[in-house]
Amino acid sequence: MIQTPHGYIRAAEREDAPALARLYDPEYPRAALLDAKREPIMPTEDEVRELLSRKEVQQGVLYAVEDTAGVVCGFCSVRGVNPEAGFGETSLLFLADATYETPLAEDALGFVLERAFERQRLRKLLANGLDGETALKQFLLGHGFESSGVQRNALYSLGQWHNLEVFTRFAG
């Protein structure tokens, strides 16, 4: 577990299943939780628990972000690493949008950047956000990410098409 100025970050565990399952909210699709075809999935809590039991997750692909009281507020990760071209994809997911405006979100981002740029020596990080993820997108733009463009009508959900914006931040 890593203590940050405003909370804790640790590898996600089976016990985090209820918090992670809450993020798979069909009313609030999140780009980072879409599958390879960019389709939303609706896992049960048991399935999420099973996912969190996998070796690769336990080895640190997904991290839980806790506040100072030890309450899980969200998750972060660096995944989809392409070693040849030196980039990966990050996700920063918080249960409440308001958390993006707190220093805890900056702690989580700092953790992700250190993992990606220092430990894994990546050159750049990508992040995705759907139309409705306004808080996430504002947070990314305010912290060194720039928009690489918008894929139009990338997801059909809640009876309408949603656009997906891609963000990039280079190391250094």
């Binding site: 075809k37 960019r38 690489s148 463009g149 009508n153």
Partner: protein, 215 residues
């Protein structure tokens, strides 16, 4: 009749293996392919075998691989539709012209046209997307001519020959393709229905090429 007007698309099968391997082993061709360029010939061959085996003749597959064929020239290229989402009515498309002498010009244009026509008219998709290396100007220019919009610019996103290159993400929506088709007009003799009809006429009694056609 030039091959551009008589070409058609069909399901890729195992008989196409040697043709595709031949294309992939050509460095000029391989440069434009996704994947690690350091793959061994054996890995490439196994990947192609696996790919051909996955091409479903029906149901709702997640990926479709088709050959771009021509009566005069034989197999011309390979068409790959991947990450087909039947929910989002979207897919990623790649098409490769294997015969170097046919890579530029009208043959590539017709291959793109048939690909898009298949996606929108047969698969009933809403959106077709493609990721194209910035140095592959001929391909992205061709796609732009169909009305596709450059939606993404992923800087320094792919490594080739020790250098990093940008990758462009293009998206084409159904209504944009229809505007394009309206503009160029329905080209007589090249619609998908006409291709199927031509295949059926060419096929022997009881099947043959017509029955093999994915269209």
């Amino acid at each position: 009749m030039p091959p551009s007007l008589t070409s058609f698309i069909r399901r890729a099968d195992r008989d196409d293996l040697d043709t595709i391997v031949g294309w992939v082993e050509d460095p000029d061709f391989a440069r434009f392919l996704y994947g690690d360029p350091a793959r061994s010939p054996r890995q490439v061959r196994e990947q192609i075998v696996s790919m051909l085996g996955r091409t479903a003749g029906h149901t709702m597959p997640g990926g479709i691989y088709l050959m771009i064929d021509s009566k005069e020239h034989g197999p011309i290229g390979l068409l790959s539709l991947q990450h087909i989402s039947w929910r989002n009515r979207c897919c990623s498309v790649d098409f490769y012209i294997g015969k170097k002498e046919l890579r530029n010009g009208i043959v590539a244009g017709m291959a793109a046209y048939r690909t898009l026509e298949y996606c929108f008219d047969e698969l009933n998709l809403h959106r077709v997307q493609a990721y194209i290396y910035a140095f592959n100007r001929a391909s992205w220019r061709l796609l732009e001519m169909t009305g596709a919009v450059r939606e993404l610019t992923l800087r320094e996103h792919v490594s080739r020959d020790g250098k990093l290159y940008d990758v462009y993400g293009y998206g084409l929506l159904r209504h944009e393709f229809e505007v394009f088709r309206e503009r160029v007009g329905r080209m007589r003799g090249v619609s998908l229905q006409d291709m199927v009809r031509a295949l059926e006429e060419a096929a022997p009694e009881g099947g043959g090429a017509g029955a093999e056609s994915s269209a």
